[in-house]
Symmetry: C2
Subunit: 202 residues, 2 copies
């Protein structure tokens, strides 16, 4: 595991610049010379801190993964006790997370650029999507949904698809639309009521 905390000032700037450039212009089209220059840093420093371009790519994906999970878990904690809203948290934060970026999901994009199965970055990408899938599954199970596996896959697909639709098909309403669809699917199964475990609904 790479820590990514307590980076030196130079490394911090490198990672920030690289994250921006990798996301906006793609990993392969951005060279280390560009990153170093844009960070006001020597290429030597970049290699001293991150070892290689791949190392920097991995750090890029790790920090984005961390930010994503932190955001979701924070919102989940804030929605304690309401299983229906908790399942929909990833849909609620979508507009904020996307922020009108036009470049879609950094993980999906990086997946397209890293076809080698052994690549460390790929494992982070796969883990990120599986994490969301598992999260849906767990929340649905807690809420007492009948077929949490299928519903989790449906929610994951809605979520990822909305990001794609927003970026490529130029559908700015996608986030709101899939939020409504997810709500409809979940409500149809949970009956629009509360949890089935301990506390009574209504």
């Amino acid at each position: 595991m790479t820590t990514n905390d307590q980076l030196t000032p130079g490394a911090r700037r490198i990672l920030d610049v690289a994250s921006e450039l990798f996301y906006r212009r793609g990993i392969h089209t951005v060279g280390v010379d560009t990153i170093a220059a844009e960070s006001g840093v020597t290429k030597r420093t970049l290699y001293d801190r991150f070892g290689s371009k791949d190392g920097l790519v991995v750090s890029y994906l790790e920090t984005r993964d961390r930010r994503w999970r932190d955001m979701i878990t924070a919102r989940l904690d804030a929605a304690q006790g309401d299983p229906l809203r908790r399942v929909l948290v990833p849909f609620e934060v979508m507009p904020e997370w996307l922020g009108g970026s036009e470049r879609g999901c950094s993980f999906i994009n990086a997946f397209a650029e890293l076809p080698e199965p052994e690549h460390e970055g790929r494992k982070i990408i796969v883990a990120e999507k599986k994490w969301l899938h598992t999260l849906f599954h767990e929340l649905l199970t807690e809420a007492g949904a009948p077929d949490p596996g299928t519903l989790a896959t449906q929610l994951l697909s809605l979520h990822e698809g909305a990001i794609v639709a927003t970026a490529i098909a130029d559908a700015p309403d996608a986030a709101a639309a899939v939020h409504a669809a997810a709500d409809a699917l979940v409500t149809a199964v949970l009956g629009g009521a509360g949890p089935s475990s301990a506390t009574g609904p209504t």
Copy 2:
């Protein structure tokens, strides 16, 4: 417009090999030398036929777009008269279209690799997604759905998301799951009955 019909034998092989390699290993990671060698053709021939690597990329996307639309329209014609099934055609063909590939959607992947807005290939990608969006919209309008715009975006998101979920989150049930979800969403609105144009609904 490039024709892509009546290619010379060499060009045909080049395009076939390039399509396979671009899809499986990404556009940037595959060089023209590799494509030429794998096609049993000289680099000179490649440039004589396609002008540039970008030209080859555009041909790659064009043919895939063409195949995709042809497949869908053929199935649509075969399902005449049943609006509910017609709307779900893109979901029915998904397993067949994906064919257990593990690399997701060629258009989404290419979108990640072509960040320049002026790039000709990007326009093909955007047009492909918008085409599906519009198709959903039209079919839903024909079927008399109340809010075809929102529902079309939801269906598009489900569709794209399932491809992503299959490839990245390793969810082989995604195609079937989103098919069911799309069915549920459409049925909830169309009441599971026939067209509303001539014959009045319930």
